[in-house]
Each structure stands twice: as C-alpha cells, then as structure tokens.
Symmetry: C2
Subunit: 301 residues, 2 copies
C-alpha cells in the first residue's frame, strides 16, 4: 500500500516533524507546512491523509491558534476530525558545528527560538552568562545556522532530532529546566477519506501501548442570554457517564463576549457506555446553540 | 482625602493607562509598571491601592499571563482580590508630527505595535500599500517616535489618548477593522487595605451605569484521578443558582496535565441568593483539591 501522507508544521526537523516521525514511523511521506491553517487545508482538500498539530503544552497550556482552527468559524474545514493524539517530550540539547569541539568559554554567540531561552535558564546562566543571544524563528533553524557557521564560534539550542538532521555535534543533552515538559499533538484526518480509515498509524509507535480509555472532543456554543446554559450543557456529559477532562474557551468571533467551548471527555469503554458519546450528541442540541463532534480517539497519555 | 494610587502596565499613554484614567478619573495618582507581575506586587505590598490589568479581549480571548498571576501558584499575591472591572473599546488612529499635515502619499514609514497592523489591515492596504513598517514595543511608543521625527515623514497607529499625550496630530480616527474590539480590565485591591475599602472609584466613570448584576471569580483545582470531579465542582455553582459566564483553564504547573480552573459566574442579587457565593465556597472544598474566591464585583458590561 502507498505510504501515508502526513502534513506537519515546518521547518524540517521541527518538534512537529519529530512528532510526525514518532507517530507515523519512517515510511510515511512527511510534508512540512508553512502554517497550521495550511495543515488543516491539506487534510480538508485531501492532499494529505493526516496532519499532526500541537494542541497543548504541559507548561504553557493550550495552543490558541489550533483551537481557533478547530472552531472552524467559517466552515472551511468541515470534514476535518481528530483521530488520534501523540505526546512528545520536549528535550533541548546544546550543539555546535561538527568536529569543532569548542570549550564553552570560547562560544561567542547563541542561537535559538525565543521560547527556548526561558526553558533552559539554569544551563544558560551557569555556562553562558553574558554571551550574545540571537533569536531565530525555530530551534531547527538555530541548528541549521550553526551547522553552516564559518566565521564565529557559535552554539544552538535545539532537539537531538534537529542536531542529527542538520549534522551538528551535541555537547550537552537534556539542558531544559523542567524534565517533564511535554507537548500533546492531535492527529487530524478527513472524515470522508477511505485511505486514512484503513491506515493504522497507531502501530507506528509501539513503544507506548494505548490505554483502553477513549477521549472525545466536542465543541459547542450556548445562548449567552440563557442563564445556566453552560452548566446545563456540561451536565449532559455527566448525565451520560462521561468524565470531563478539560475545558477550553475561545471568543466566538461573532459577537463580543460570546464563546465557543471545547470539552474533552474520557471513558473506559464498557457495554453500558458504548453509546454514551452518541447520546451526548443527541442531547446537546437541546441545551446548546450549536455543537459538533470533533473526534474520538484512543487515550495515549 | 488622599487620591487613590493606581498601578497600570506602562508605558504612559498605553491602553492600560487610558483604562486607568477612565476608571479612576483625573484625580487619581497613576503609576506605570514594567510588568503585570509588578502591578500585582504593588497591590500585595500596599504601594498601590489598586492595579488595573487586562484580562480578556473580545477578539483574542483571555490574557494568559493575567490568569497565571491570579492563579498565584507560589502564594506571593495571597491578599490580592478583584474588586471591579472596566471595559475599554480599542480604537486606533493614524497620526503624524504636529503641524506637518502631510499627504498620505508622502508618508515613507509607519510605526506601531505588531498587533495593531493586523487590526487595521483595511485602512493600511487602502492608503499605505508597500510603505515600510517598523514594529515598536507599544502603540504609545509609536506616537512618541513620530512626535520627535525630524528627518523622515512618518506616521503612527495608536489611540487618540496616546496622540494627545504625545502631542501629535490625528489624521484619521477609528481605522480599526473591527468596530467592537473591546478589552476587559480587572481592578485589583488588597483585601486588608482599609483605604481601598473606603474609596469609591466606581463613581469615576459615571457615563456607564452599573447593572445590578454581580460577578464572582473562583479558582479551583480538582483531583485529576477522580472521575467526574470537574463536573461535580461545576454542578456546585448551578445548585446554588449561580450562572456560569466563563471558564478558563491553565496548567497547574505542579504536575503535567493537571489544571487550575477559573470559573466566573453572575447573579442578579435577590434576597434568596444573597448567600449563594458563600454557600458555593462552603461546598466546593468537598469536591475540589483547593479553591479560592478571587473576588466579587459589579457587572459593568
């Protein structure tokens, strides 16, 4: 069978690229996108079987841009659904140009993405106090820059994946302050795609067995003028035995101070709750203005 | 009586400064802060009677940094509470150096905060296609820059408030794409402050009468391993007749994938619900790991 086509947010060797390799294995055909919106479009238009998109980081919280695309306020991604998730532990390394082995004290310039400085503060203040820092658009880019450096003695902070991709030497590993900084990715497919219905990409990361629990993501809006509407909508999940695991709120963009709500819930499948999600989706329209099932998938946490 | 001391996020003539003037009037002593954290500290330490902090924008959603400070995970702002809110409509103007009256076609450079470019796209693409754009750290700063410009013919995008503060000429008003782009500010005080208990800053913005409704903000965490804990906590509000108006979620920062929840609820006071908030706060500890009342104030929407 033809390999899966997967879109991820570029550049190559980004954390999204690494997540795609981990989730889909080496045989998939991975394509970098310029934006999250492009990845959604690729799935909607059928150019990709899947897209893999960061939705939440354990330290920084939800990725608003991804939620806004899932909200799909202009109904341009109507056929995109979530079919799986993938957790990527974010490890940073310190790296330099191949075969140069400089002492830390001879490094005169550092490159990385603005967010990574803050995530490696302990390592940086211990080893590189006062050294010039240059922001770049991605950690992968910083690895690429030092790989081509010829005039200066510079270092980059990026993943081991990016170091290997760009062929630079890792001098220190796991330099992040927080050992358990993890990003959760959602994997998207087109509900009408027969190809992705057949493919079993889950087998690509056999190291972590799936739990038996299933997660479901539902989006809804409520009538802002109806008191208790939000509480009523949330009660529906509880009434059908679904455990709410997270709630996110975004502006509706239609009227100020009206919201779209993202509710994620989990259940361990039993004969009793087999139809719980279907029943929730049947009941929600009675207490919401609009609602949409964004997908159900195996819990990978 | 001594005027109120109010901290806001600087620089001077920022939107926060404008919100402070609108909410507290001209007689208050307004002090710019370098960061949101400094404004929280000023209230906690008693250097300010109040701080005014943006918490939500009608288009962009919640301000995560403000939620994280309210979560107060290290308990350094234990005495800070929300005592009021203020809504500021965000209007942008196009401005140039005083008494220069240039034609649009002679403007060679534009200055503003990165967010403002996106908010004024229609105006910019109609009048300034291809003109060089320079990002600056605040819209107020852009007004200041053009006020001092001597060599170039440049323009800035900022508020009328900033134009007046920096003494520049407004050539076009309300150039924003979205007419109802509004930012909600919270006003903070120290629960132990006798001064701010006495002061009645609400009277400073008499143009908008308060509705009779009261809003309450409560923060809580639930046991992640207890199924239904979140739904149970939310039910408590409903059981006591409080209407949930918004929910926000942030990482707990203690363990990955555990959250702090911010629930805002509203009620029109009646003899029956007078003690509703107190009862909610009494019941919540039975279904949450921790909970905190962050304040109750008059609805100003």
């Amino acid at each position: 069978m033809e390999p899966s086509k997967v879109s991820f947010l570029g550049p190559k060797a980004s954390f999204s690229h690494q997540a795609a390799v981990e989730a889909f294995g080496g045989s998939a055909q991975l394509t970098p996108c310029l934006s999250f919106a492009d990845a959604f479009s690729a799935v909607q238009q059928g150019q990709s079987d899947y897209a893999i998109i960061p939705v939440e980081n354990s330290s920084n919280g939800s990725v608003m841009q991804t939620l806004d695309l899932l909200a799909d306020r202009n109904e341009i991604y109507a056929d995109v659904e979530v079919c799986a998730e993938h957790y990527l532990t974010v490890h940073h390394c310190f790296m330099v140009r191949k075969n140069t082995s400089p002492a830390y004290s001879s490094i005169t310039k550092l490159y990385t993405h603005p967010q990574a400085w803050g995530q490696c503060e302990t390592f940086l203040s211990k080893n590189f106090k006062g050294v010039e820092r240059q922001d770049v658009s991605s950690t992968s880019k910083s690895a690429e820059i030092v790989s081509k450096e010829t005039t200066e003695c510079s270092g980059a902070i990026a993943s081991r994946f990016a170091a290997e991709y760009h062929g630079v030497d890792v001098l220190a590993e796991n330099i992040e302050d927080k050992a358990d900084n993890t990003t959760r990715f959602l994997i998207l497919r087109n509900v009408h795609s027969k190809r992705s219905a057949r493919l079993t990409f889950q087998d690509a990361s056999p190291s972590k067995p799936s739990s038996t629990a299933l997660k479901t993501l539902v989006l809804f809006t409520v009538d802002h003028n109806s008191p208790g509407a939000l509480a009523d909508a949330l009660s529906v999940f509880k009434d059908h035995g679904l455990n709410l695991t997270s709630i996110n709120t975004r502006p509706s963009q239609k009227r100020a101070w009206q919201y779209v709500f993202f509710v994620e819930c989990a259940r361990v499948p039993t004969p009793q709750n087999q139809k719980a999600v279907a029943r929730v989706l049947q009941s929600l329209p009675q207490v919401t203005e609009s609602c949409k099932h964004l997908g159900t998938w195996k819990d990978r946490l």
